[in-house]
């Protein structure tokens, strides 16, 4: 086997590999000898088929197998022999000419193919101790905790039946029948419906007209559906509702005490406060962490300047571009709405893609040097987190991760990145700084603006991008923000 380097320009490499026909034939004969005792051909007892005949029957298919195998295995072998790492799957080109291909299959011509790839540049790890980041920590005020508790308590508020007129904030139990032009319409009827006055759950005007009713009252009210009501046949129409009031109940005052805590399934008010505070803290913690991470990435970006493999950038760019386009489409916007042209946007996202690729490479290198590893346990956990977001489809998703080889890697990438960041946090100097809640959130906008400062849609995209910056994790990129949200929701 001969390997000739035909191109070595920047990060691009092209190799020409030649395998002489003789070698190929020798390999084929080996194969034939192997299968000889196993094949069954009519007219011959097993194992008695002459090799010449076998070659005539199976020679070509065996050769094709051989060629495939060589083309599949050789490039990695050659690359590891040369001590290079390919950034992407190496591109392999063979002869297109059919007679030529036939000759190769008949072991008359040498097998030749070219391997084109881009190497991952050797990254010299630089001293990271020069990186300084400020960790912004928010002091959580008691009021904030209380506020949050009140919000939670709202849903668990208790009501007590009262005699007399219903006031705003009271809960009424009613039967109602809605009619448009004297005809009852779909969804306009309910019995024993509980409605908190002033909660704005019904169409405007409905609740207001119920203020002042008493238990046992019967009343007919007239309301107009808003013009943007989801049901087209009702939007903008005037409707009458025949209402029978069954009960009026007054809301109990909410007090943060042990009773409330027990109702929410906790032992004491202190415990409740503690938990709520923990939740808020973790929310801010996420934010803080994101900011710290961005600072690290920004500085790493400054620190490392090297050529990035074009194909990786291209792939990453395609990812972003697709995402942006679907986002825009969903929002029903065009680039003109965002005060930019397609070309400008392209250039901008290309820069973003390059930055991401570069940082991804740096992070993975750092991680490798530091011996950062993602354990199966952690992978499993993140898999379940993904599953939680798609209730009812767990099975499909599990299958997807099982059957798609890249999928597991896409789960692993963000985990790996997080761990590398953890590792870095241990090495660089971190200054803690207490800031107010406003400062923390306000600064955040600014940081996003740096990556893409033009339009809100872009900001969103940039935020998404930052969230999963680094490794070529296409799939979770989309899901990452959703995950965070889901986590918060379930926390509440």
């Amino acid at each position: 086997m001969q390997v000739i380097e035909t191109l070595a320009q920047g990060l691009k490499r092209e190799l020409k590999v030649v395998i002489p026909a003789k070698d190929m034939e020798a390999r084929m004969n080996e194969r034939l000898a192997e299968v000889k005792d196993r094949v069954r051909i009519n007219g011959f007892r097993p194992g008695k088929v002459p090799v010449a005949h076998l070659k005539k029957v199976y020679g070509k298919s065996i050769m094709a197998d051989l060629v495939n195998e060589i083309v599949r295995d050789k490039p990695t072998e050659i690359l590891s022999g040369r001590g290079e790492k390919s950034a992407t799957q190496p591109e392999i080109a063979m002869t297109e000419d059919e007679t030529e291909a036939n000759k190769i299959l008949n072991a008359e011509a040498d097998l030749e193919f070219t391997v084109a790839y881009e190497i991952i540049p050797a990254i010299e790890l630089k001293d990271v101790s020069g990186i300084k980041v400020t960790r912004e920590v928010v002091e959580i005020a008691d009021e904030e905790v209380n506020e949050q508790i009140l919000r939670i308590a709202e849903s668990a508020r208790s009501y007590e039946s009262k005699k007399g007129k219903a006031a705003n904030g009271d809960r009424v139990t009613i039967d109602y029948l809605g009619k448009v032009d004297g005809v009852a319409f779909d969804g306009g009827k309910d019995e024993d419906a509980e409605l908190v006055l002033g909660s704005n759950r019904f169409i405007p005007g409905f609740e207001e007209q119920l203020v002042g009713v008493k238990a046992g009252d019967e009343k007919t009210i007239t309301v107009t559906f808003p013009a943007d009501y989801p049901a087209a046949n009702l939007a903008g129409k005037e409707a009458t509702f025949d209402i029978t009031v069954k009960d009026v109940a007054a809301a109990q005052d909410i007090e943060i005490n042990d009773e409330l805590a027990t109702k929410l399934g906790l032992e004491s008010a202190d415990k409740l406060k503690e938990i709520v505070r923990g939740q808020i803290e973790s929310q801010y913690g996420n934010l803080t962490r994101q900011k710290v991470k961005r600072q690290i990435l920004d500085q790493l970006d400054e620190l490392y300047k090297f050529e990035t493999p074009e194909r990786l950038v291209e792939a990453e760019f395609e990812n972003i571009w697709r995402q942006i386009n679907t986002d825009l489409q969903q929002a029903g916007k065009t680039f003109a709405d965002e005060e930019t042209t397609e070309e400008e946007a392209r250039a901008e996202y290309r820069k973003l893609a390059e930055r991401r690729v570069r940082l991804g490479l740096v992070l993975s290198e750092i991680g490798e040097k530091a011996g950062v590893q993602v354990s199966d346990d952690e992978l499993q956990r993140s898999l379940f987190e993904q599953l939680r977001q798609f209730p009812g489809q767990e099975k499909q998703i599990l299958d997807y991760f099982k059957n798609t080889p890249g999928a597991a890697a896409s789960l692993r990438a963000p985990l790996f990145e997080e761990k590398v960041v953890d590792h870095l946090l241990g090495e660089i100097s971190v200054t803690d700084k207490t800031v107010s809640k406003e400062e923390l959130t306000a600064d955040d906008e600014e940081g996003e603006g740096k990556a893409a400062k033009k339009a809100p849609a872009k900001k969103k995209a940039a935020a998404k991008a930052e969230a999963a910056e680094g490794e070529e994790a296409a799939a979770p990129k989309k899901k990452a923000p959703a995950k965070k949200k889901a986590a918060e929701d379930s926390a509440e």
Binding site: G43, F44, P50, H53, K56
Partner: protein
């Protein structure tokens, strides 16, 4: 016309253990039409493959009776011709016509 008849005479080469064995003695084996005579076979082989035939031996292998779902059936009889070629000549039977 005679040409087309040649194609009808010779049905297929017979590639078996035995036929590869006799090929050592410069002989080839063909399945031929049931009603083909030795002179016909000789003429056909000489015309189609461009070789000189020195002898033609034929045999008819009778079809076996086989039962299929309880019904008696009979496989076809096959006539084979073992052809001896003149010294130094050969036919590559497996490549087909």
């Amino acid at each position: 016309m005679t040409d087309l008849r040649h194609y009808d005479v010779i049905v297929s080469p017979s590639i078996t253990e035995k036929s590869t064995l006799v090929s050592e003695q410069n002989q080839v084996v063909f399945n031929v039409a049931k009603d083909a005579s030795k002179p016909e076979i000789k003429a056909a082989v000489e015309a189609l493959f461009g070789v000189k035939v020195t002898a033609v031996n034929t045999l008819v292998r009778k079809g076996k009776t086989k039962r299929f779902r309880g019904f008696a059936g009979k496989q076809k009889d096959v006539k084979k011709a073992i052809i001896t070629l003149a010294d130094g000549q050969s036919i590559d039977v497996s490549t087909g016509l």
